[in-house]
């Protein structure tokens, strides 16, 4: 079946004219038609555009172009601005917003020839770990429609798992690619901070946000990351460093790779979850890797640190949503204050408002030192811990989440319980490190993910380690029932 082929296999069929990009696109559009509504994975479908893009890709192929991604369908998380297409960020605030430009990520993938099928559902303004805060309703996990797919890139993860597209994009600020990848049994990649441009990616927490990709394998993710990565003069935090050939890197040998088990990751981890990770370690050892235990003593402080820094930055980033130049405006504003308060009060959902208020509080006079400044100091300690660990090992390994997907509605009332979900992923965001989540087994019939974290700009080694694991195992090939 087309939707189970790898990108490499699809490229082969496209190049040998067995199928056209238009046919491929139609195939995925009909899957979206069939499965989309039940999953609620998409906010906007761009069928007409997609077919036009597919035809254009076919034409490029006729003219001799052969890129890996040429004519491959893809769904963008609705956080990336797409010129002429609604970009809602999962919020009522931008429900009527037609972006007037393309994000750099969108431009680059377009140049590589992808065919955009639509915009994926997400937690509102990327704030959430379950895709339950979206203005457009929750996304369902294709493995069990009563369960969450994770978040904030829940729609992108669910779409990838349900084979609605071979590739989907996401963003990861506190785990929003890795965690949903783990809960939906797909591969998710978060690059090093500064590796991929943030221009056109609606900002949540500027010093933490990174764009990344979902795919069913590392081998599929590699060309996508390749196209997305690289210096962008429009983003001052974008790093001007050469991008290695990620696909070529997959073939590197694994022997001698030193993998660190993070002690703090295993403390309190349920036995069945720990077992999956230990199985994965056995695979790595059999491939020639060495493992050793390392410690990041400040890691437990990463969640409260994050929940000071991220809300602080977002409270400021979201001030531009004021009903003046674009986006939601309340009806009949009585005066300026009313315009602001009601446009924002009505336009934003509860979790977004909670985070804006938390951020406003921690930055406010009298609290700045105790919270914001304090958090930035702890952040440095966490970064130092990682740096020290990487002098002993090449990569770190651990679970991506403490448990498999939970029920929709189970945690929504208590924000702090939800925040604790992020315990394994947040550290990498605070330190700007690249991370990968790979399917590594099942608990209670639901997928679990294993996480690899590397030093800055070690994506090539990370992807190689992930790829080698996927050559030796087949967790990543499993499809949810009914979506095969």
């Amino acid at each position: 079946m087309l939707h189970n082929l790898s990108i490499g296999e699809l490229a082969e069929r496209l190049n040998s004219r067995q199928i056209s990009s238009v046919e491929l696109t139609r195939h995925f559009l009909s899957r979206i038609d069939r499965f989309g509504p039940a999953l609620n994975a998409l906010i906007t479908l761009t069928a007409e555009h997609a077919l036009a893009d597919a035809a254009a890709a076919d034409l490029r192929r006729v003219r001799g172009e052969r890129g890996q991604l040429l004519g491959i369908p893809l769904i963008h998380k609705d956080i990336f601005c797409t010129d002429g297409v609604r970009t809602s960020c999962g919020s009522r605030m931008l429900d009527n917003f037609i972006a007037p430009y393309d994000a750099t990520v969108v431009t680059r993938l377009k140049a590589a020839g992808v065919v955009m099928l639509g915009k994926a559902n997400m937690d509102e303004f990327a704030m959430g770990s379950s895709n339950e805060t979206s203005y457009y309703g929750p996304v369902k996990n294709p493995w069990n429609l009563k369960k969450v797919p994770g978040g904030s890139s829940g729609g992108s993860a669910a779409a990838a798992a349900a084979r609605l597209a071979p590739l989907t994009t996401g963003t990861d600020t506190g785990g929003s690619i890795r965690q949903p990848a783990a809960l939906t049994g797909v591969t998710g990649v978060k690059p090093t901070y500064g590796r991929v441009s943030r221009y056109g990616m609606i900002a949540f927490a500027s010093s933490l946000d990174q764009a990344g990709v979902f795919a069913r394998s590392v081998a599929d993710a590699a060309p996508a990351l390749q196209a997305m990565a690289g210096f962008d003069p429009r983003d001052s935090t974008s790093v001007d460093a050469p991008v290695p050939d990620y696909t070529a890197a997959l073939a590197q040998p694994l022997k001698g790779l030193k993998i660190g088990l993070l002690r703090e990751f295993f403390e309190g981890l349920e036995a069945r979850n720990a077992a999956l990770i230990h199985d994965a370690l056995k695979v790595y050892r059999s491939l020639g890797a060495q493992t050793k235990e390392v410690s990041l003593p400040h890691l437990p402080a990463s969640v409260p640190t994050y929940y000071v820094v991220a809300p602080a930055e977002c409270s400021s980033n979201l001030s531009r949503f004021d009903g003046v130049r674009y986006g939601y405006r309340c009806e009949n504003p009585q005066d300026l204050m009313d315009l602001y308060k009601r446009s924002r009060g009505e336009g934003f959902g509860a979790e977004v408002k909670r985070r804006i208020m938390t951020g406003t509080y921690v930055l406010s006079a009298g609290y700045f030192d105790a919270y914001y400044l304090k958090a930035q100091r702890v952040r440095r300690l966490i970064v130092d811990d990682f740096r020290a660990a990487f002098t002993q090992v090449d990569l770190l390994i651990g679970p991506t989440t403490p448990t498999p997907a939970f029920d929709i509605g189970a945690k929504i009332d208590d924000p702090v319980t939800m925040y604790l979900n992020d315990i394994y992923t947040i550290g990498a965001n605070l330190a700007g490190l690249p991370g990968l989540s790979l399917p590594c087994g099942f608990v209670d019939g639901l997928p679990m993910g294993l996480q690899l974290i590397g030093p800055h700009f070690s994506e090539d080694r990370l992807l190689c380690a992930g790829h080698r694991y996927q050559l030796a195992t087949d967790w990543h090939t499993r499809a949810p029932q009914g979506y095969e």
Binding site: D240, P304, K341
Partner: protein, 96 residues
């Protein structure tokens, strides 16, 4: 550490968010819970540790050449605007 109603009202005002009287208790409780949670940070010793603002410590700001690189796209950009008149964005009267 618990926040009071007044605390939350003040924050909501600073952040220009309308919170109804019915919604307020839920926000007070949620924010108190969050603040309580992040108060844990005070237990981490950080004497002599410099704050880290960017994960890529050691990078510095790139300087851009002073060149005009934009054309007039007013029509396109104002297509999204809730209220414009004669090229201006219209808002309720600003009082100085």
């Amino acid at each position: 550490m618990s926040l009071t109603r007044q605390d939350v009202e003040k924050i909501a005002h600073l952040a220009r968010l309308s919170i109804s009287a019915e919604e307020l208790p839920a926000y007070v409780s949620a924010l108190s819970s969050i603040v309580n949670f992040v108060d844990d940070l005070s237990r981490v010793p950080t004497a002599d540790v410099a704050p880290l603002a960017h994960p890529l410590d050691g990078q510095h700001q790139r300087l851009r050449a002073d060149a005009v690189a934009e054309t007039d796209n007013r029509e396109k950009y104002q297509a999204n605007a809730p209220s414009v008149a004669a090229g201006l964005y219209v808002v309720p009267r600003v009082i100085e």
